[in-house]
């Protein structure tokens, strides 16, 4: 779903290894090898072309922005400028920020995000599967979950500051709440959609209900759960950052909020840029995890089509 440009290029060469999982056949004939090589070259060329166009696009936007700022068409005080952002980033990374070292701030935000993501995901998966497996429990809980889900989660941020103060606990709590619902609904739906035949087969083979959950429900629901993880990490980041903006001693959200208070547009962009990089790294890690967990699924058509 979120596989846009950047990840499309690295996956393309992998499709060249496709014939490996065809059942044991005669060794490929030489002209077949040549065909495969030609197809690979074509794929690589296309990837390079894509990269070049993407770089040009970035250069055009940044160059236009810098040009506009230099010639007074875009007021650098209000809109900032690429060179201003670069200066801001350099000073943050070399001299530190008003809230201490930039690495410390990144560390605080990431710790809150990752903790919130892990706790929210774990509780979402456990409760989603439990309610999916126990329809009676689901019937009891349904109105409460619907009510809780209808609360705009951001207001909870204020509540958590009152409860937990300005430390990182409240940020983690906000991230957990945001992550929980996105994962929970997918885990629940995934559990409900498990193939009845597979469950009956496991039972007849001798599996206890716990084993059915372990060996059939969880792996099967994993397609739904991993799909929610991409959005969930984004939610965890939102929870941490919004929590920090509402009040904190450190963190990227607080850094952005302070820049905003000083009308430092370059500071706001710089903070945003760092967050975007963190989100992309996380997205990469989650995609790797997803591929690993869902290895058992047949190769997707779109992937083999690029051969």
């Amino acid at each position: 779903m979120t596989d846009l440009g950047p990840t499309a290029a690295p996956t393309a060469p992998r499709s060249g290894t496709m014939p490996a999982d065809a059942p044991a056949t005669a060794p490929p004939e030489p002209d077949e090898a040549a065909l495969i090589r030609a197809a690979r070259t074509r794929t690589r060329r296309r990837g390079l072309l894509l990269r070049a166009i993407q770089c040009l696009l970035v250069l055009a936007v940044l160059g236009g922005w810098q040009f506009g700022a230099a010639h007074g068409w875009l007021d650098p005080f209000t809109y900032g400028s690429p060179s201003g952002v670069a200066d801001q980033l350099r000073s943050w990374f070399t001299e530190g920020t008003a809230l201490g070292s930039i690495w410390h701030n990144i560390g605080v935000t990431m710790e809150e995000t990752v903790l919130g993501f892990l706790i929210g995901t774990a509780s979402g998966v456990v409760l989603g599967i439990a309610l999916g497996r126990l329809p009676a429990l689901a019937d009891v809980m349904a109105p409460f979950i619907k009510a809780a889900n209808s609360i705009p989660r951001i207001v909870l941020g204020s509540m958590f500051i009152i409860w937990f103060g300005l430390g990182s606990t409240g940020k983690v709590a906000l991230a957990v709440v945001l992550v929980f619902f996105s994962v929970f609904f997918n885990a629940f739906q995934g559990t409900r959609e498990v193939d009845r035949n597979l469950m009956a087969n496991a039972r007849i083979l001798g599996a206890s209900e716990w084993r059915v959950t372990q060996h059939v429900v969880l792996p099967s629901a994993m397609t739904w759960i991993t799909a929610s993880l991409h959005a969930a990490f984004g939610f965890a980041l939102i929870g941490a950052i919004v929590g920090e903006m509402l009040g904190a001693q450190a963190g990227l959200g607080q850094l952005i909020a302070q820049s905003q208070g000083l009308f430092n547009a370059d500071g706001v962009y710089s903070g945003t840029l760092i967050i975007a990089v963190l989100a992309l790294v996380a997205e990469f890690v989650i995609t790797r995890f997803e591929k690993r967990v869902l290895r058992w699924r047949p190769t997707q058509l779109s992937e083999s089509a690029s051969l």
Partner: protein
């Protein structure tokens, strides 16, 4: 666990078994009505009948997946209450676990039943050899052909050494040639452990080629119309037994019994006779 009772009683006994379901619209649907059927230990029984006559429902009653609404379902003389360890079930659709390797799929049964992993895996290798899938241990199900997946399912079911083997149109998704080959393999494996088999199919040729006894069910609500013993010699080859003169004779007799039910079922779905055709 009372061996004297077990050995004397038939492997499977359905006595006036009736199964009703609640329909989503709130009505009641009767799938089986007063069905009487007996399968002896080691007997291969095929059940044929028109679409929607409750063939599969019979299997879910015997397996314990569904409770009997009225009447009795007995295994070795004891009423079925839940899933019985002595029962194996092969489903119509692919029911091998797509996320497990071929070896893990076959080892799943013993592992679910508490056999240590290593022992289960050794046993699974042995069964994979028997179904001719040595060398494919590490493959995932989607990397296999339909016929190979069926053999994995067969090994997965037989590794538990069931005394009762239930099969719900297990080969209907295969092409005709593959189906005959896998059927021959089934017969060879069946000879090894000799479980009592209930083999549900809509294909009369398949039923006669495989079974010791063919039971014809009426159009739904299903009940037994006729039972035909199949006195063809064993061991049989599915591809060749059909040319046996006795095969053709049996086919004609059973078909004349089945034909009316098939026609009635067709008329019903085609909307020509909305009233149940007085199947009792």
């Amino acid at each position: 666990m009372n061996e004297t009772v077990s050995s004397a009683a038939p492997a499977i006994e359905l006595r006036r078994a009736t199964k009703r379901f609640r329909t989503p619209s709130g009505g009641i649907y009767t799938a089986l009505r007063d069905l009487d059927m007996t399968v002896e230990p080691g007997e291969f029984c095929a059940v044929v009948g028109p679409t929607g006559c409750g063939k599969s429902t019979t299997l879910s009653l015997v397996s314990g997946l569904e409770p009997t609404t009225a009447g009795r379902t007995l295994i070795h003389g004891r009423p079925v209450s839940g899933i019985d360890r002595r029962v194996g079930f092969m489903f119509q659709t692919d029911a091998v676990f797509p996320w497990k390797s071929v070896l893990d799929n076959v080892a799943a049964g013993p592992q679910f039943r508490g056999t240590p992993k290593k022992e289960a895996v050794d046993k699974a290798r042995d069964w994979l050899r028997r179904v001719g899938l040595s060398g494919f241990e590490d493959r995932l199900p989607h990397q296999l052909s339909g016929g190979m997946r069926k053999r994995v399912a067969l090994a997965q079911t037989l590794i538990n050494e069931p005394e009762i083997l239930l099969m719900d149109e297990p080969f209907s998704a295969l092409d005709v040639q593959t189906r005959q080959i896998v059927s021959d393999e089934l017969l060879a494996l069946w000879e090894l452990t000799r479980p009592a088999v209930v083999f549900v199919t809509h294909d009369l040729e398949e039923a006669i080629a495989l079974a010791d006894k063919v039971v014809v069910l009426t159009v739904g609500p299903g009940t037994v119309k006729d039972t035909f013993p199949i006195d063809l010699p064993r061991p049989r080859t599915v591809q060749e037994i059909r040319f046996h003169p006795r095969f053709i004779e049996l086919y004609e007799r059973i078909w004349s019994s089945l034909r009316d039910e098939v026609q009635a079922a067709y008329d019903r779905t085609a909307g020509q006779s909305p009233q149940p055709a007085g199947a009792a």
